[in-house]
Structure formats: C-alpha cells, structure tokens
Amino acid sequence: MERVVGRILFAGVSVSVCCLAAGLLWQWASIGQPRFDYELPHTHIARFLLGELTAVVHGRVSPARLINLGILALLLTPYLRVVLSMVYFVAIERNYKYGIITGFVGTILTYSLFSR
C-alpha cells in the first residue's frame, strides 16, 4: 500500500514539474523571457481537463498548453491517490471498511472537481 501510494504521488509530481519546466524553457526560448500573461479558462477542473486534452489530441501544443497540463497534473495527483487507494483497499487488501472510507472521500472529491 505504502509503495503504491508513494509511487503515485511521486509520478504525479514528476509529470507536473516536467511539463512546467518544459513549458517555461520553451516560452523563454521563443519570446526571450520566462513570463506568462495569459489567463486560465474560468471553469471547473473537469472542463479545464477536457478542454486541454481535446486540444492536445488535435495536435495543438504550445508553451501555455504545457503549463496548463502541468497545473492539471498537480491538481489530479491527490485525486488519483484517493481513487487508486480505494481500488487497492477493496481489490487487494479486501479491507472493505477502508474501501468505504476512501470511496466516500473519492465521491466528495469527484463532486468538488465540478464545483465552481
């Protein structure tokens, strides 16, 4: 359990940091300074994620898009941790008590991803 959770958190943070650093360097190389003056879309996290993924699938990649993906990876790391812990508690440890507890936390978190 500890190993799985530790790896999820480490992977999430690594992806986030890599996206942010790459976006920053790209921006620096293209406009000569590491600045970002755009705004993020005024919407909840779920739609933000959907919008960015659609853009990437259509091959639209830019420094700002990498930054957005980095921020999203950071936001979704704790979420993934909760969801995968629930799966682990139920499927591997057969600890239904904690399966229910993490399921509850996961439900509230899912709801909060849509709140605005």
Partner: protein, 276 residues
C-alpha cells in the same frame, strides 16, 4: 516582481510546509502580498502550493513509512466535509471574527506546547475501541535515534469531529489549516510529532483540492505566478522531507511551536487589516 525571487520564496515555503505539516501559505501569502500581488490571487496560488507541498512531501514521507495512510484517509472524510460546509458558509459569516478566533486558538496551542516542551513523546497506555476498530496504529523507523517506534492513535471519536472544524476553518478563510491538523494529531490523538506532520501533509492535499476548482472557475489562478511557485515549492518540500527524517522528535516539536507563534500573529494581523 521577478520570477527568480518568486522561485526562492517558494522554496522556503515548501521547506517550511514539509517540516511543519502545513502548506506553504504561512510564508507565501505574506510574501506575495508584500510583492504587490492581490490577496485573492495570493490565496489562490497558496491553495495550489498546498497541493504541491502535500504531494511533494507525502511522496517521500509515505515511502519512509512516516505517514499513517489509514489515519489520513479516515480523517480526510471529516476535513473535506468541513471544507465544503465552510465554503458554503463563507459568504454569511463575519470573517474578521473568525481570523481573531483562529489566531487565538493557534497562540493558545503554542502556549500549551511551550508548557509541555520538556515532555518527550511517549505512547499512550491503552487504545479506545473505535481507534482499535479503525486499525489506527503503526510503526516507523526513526532515523534520528536509529530505532523502530511503535505508536497507537487514540480518541478517534474526538479527532474526527475536530477535523471537521479544521476543514471548516480552511474552507471559510481560504487557508490550508495544516497547523490545526497537526495540533489535533499531536494533542488529541497522541501521535509522535513526525507522524503528525507527515500525516497532516497527506491530508492537506485533498482538502486544498476540494477548494481549488472554485478558485480556478473564478479566474483567480494566475499561471504566471503558478509556474515559479509550484517548481519552487516542490523543490523546497523535497529538501524539507530529507531534513525532517533526520531531526529528533523534540526539535520537530520546537520548530512547530515557532511556526504556530508566527502563524497565530499573522492571522490576527490579517483580521485587523481586513475591513469588515
């Protein structure tokens, strides 16, 4: 406001957050407002920094066996419900009074910790039935003493509802309230200081995430600030985790005491400055 200065401040914020079991808000919010960033934007970025400190430090603490995952997940239920309740109430309650109340709680807790500064942590004699049913116990290898330390949490029936209150304060005031969580682990549930810090670091991530969507939807998260802050905080948090595992529990307690003093004063000053 240069990106380099932001990065350095964020390293400090992540470092302090990882050692104190809180987000970097205690450092970041005053520093950003001092740089001339609007307080609303500063709070939104601080929410992001809490998630970064939490995931960055918890990744290491979980691997080191310092975080008690079951305790964290049990308490997350309460703190998240509290955060949602707090966010819903935020418009109708006088936040000035709340800042004073929170400041007083933090300073009183600091006084309590100071009074007990000579006591070393020792495991409680017996565990109540609810805490035992929830399997709230653990063992970790203390790098400072070289020995394995066994512990059991007690009073889960008090810890849960108090965590709800801590989550509510976080939702109401837009702060991480990690300090309150460490206090509950420490004073009520009798966890060893390092486990208190590490487990609080795990919990603050989901509490902050529950509020993050609202800040994003209101357009308060500025990517120009977010990039250097996240990168700095993650680096600082990583450094912090390497230091914490080596510190004796007594020193962890002492550091936390000073952080409480600073935070309590800061919160009261914010209450005074706020126009009602």
């Amino acid at each position: 406001l240069t990106i380099g200065a932001l990065f350095l401040v964020s390293i400090l914020a992540g470092f302090v957050g990882a050692i104190g079991g809180m987000g970097g808000g205690i450092v970041l919010i005053p520093a950003l407002t001092w740089f001339g960033v609007d307080i609303k934007h500063a709070i939104a970025i601080s929410i992001l920094s809490v998630i970064a400190t939490s995931s960055g430090s918890a990744a290491a603490y979980v691997r080191d066996g310092l975080t008690n995952l079951r305790l964290g997940m049990f308490l997350e239920m309460f703190t998240m419900l509290g955060a949602l309740a707090g966010a819903a109430l935020a418009v109708s309650l006088p936040s000035r009074l709340l800042f004073f109340l929170l400041g007083t709680v933090l300073l009183c807790s600091a006084a309590l910790l100071w009074a007990r500064r000579k006591e070393e942590w020792k495991p409680p004699d017996s565990q109540d039935s609810l805490s035992r049913w929830l399997e709230l116990e653990g063992i970790y290898l203390d790098h400072a003493t070289g020995g394995a330390i066994e512990y059991r949490a007690i009073r889960a029936h008090l810890g849960g509802p108090l965590m709800f209150l801590a989550g509510m304060v976080a939702g109401l005031l837009g702060i991480g309230a990690g300090a309150l969580k460490v206090l509950i682990h420490d004073l009520i549930m009798k966890l060893p200081p390092k486990v208190s810090t590490a487990t609080s670091n795990l919990i603050i991530g989901v509490t902050a995430l529950a509020g993050a969507s609202v800040y994003l939807a209101q357009g308060l998260l500025l990517p120009g600030l977010a990039v250097p802050v996240i990168l700095g905080v993650v680096a600082g948090a990583f450094l912090g985790t390497r230091v914490l595992v080596k510190l004796p529990n007594r020193v962890v307690h002492r550091v936390f005491f000073f952080l409480l003093l600073i935070l309590g004063t800061e919160v009261i000053v914010r209450g005074i400055r706020k126009t009602p």
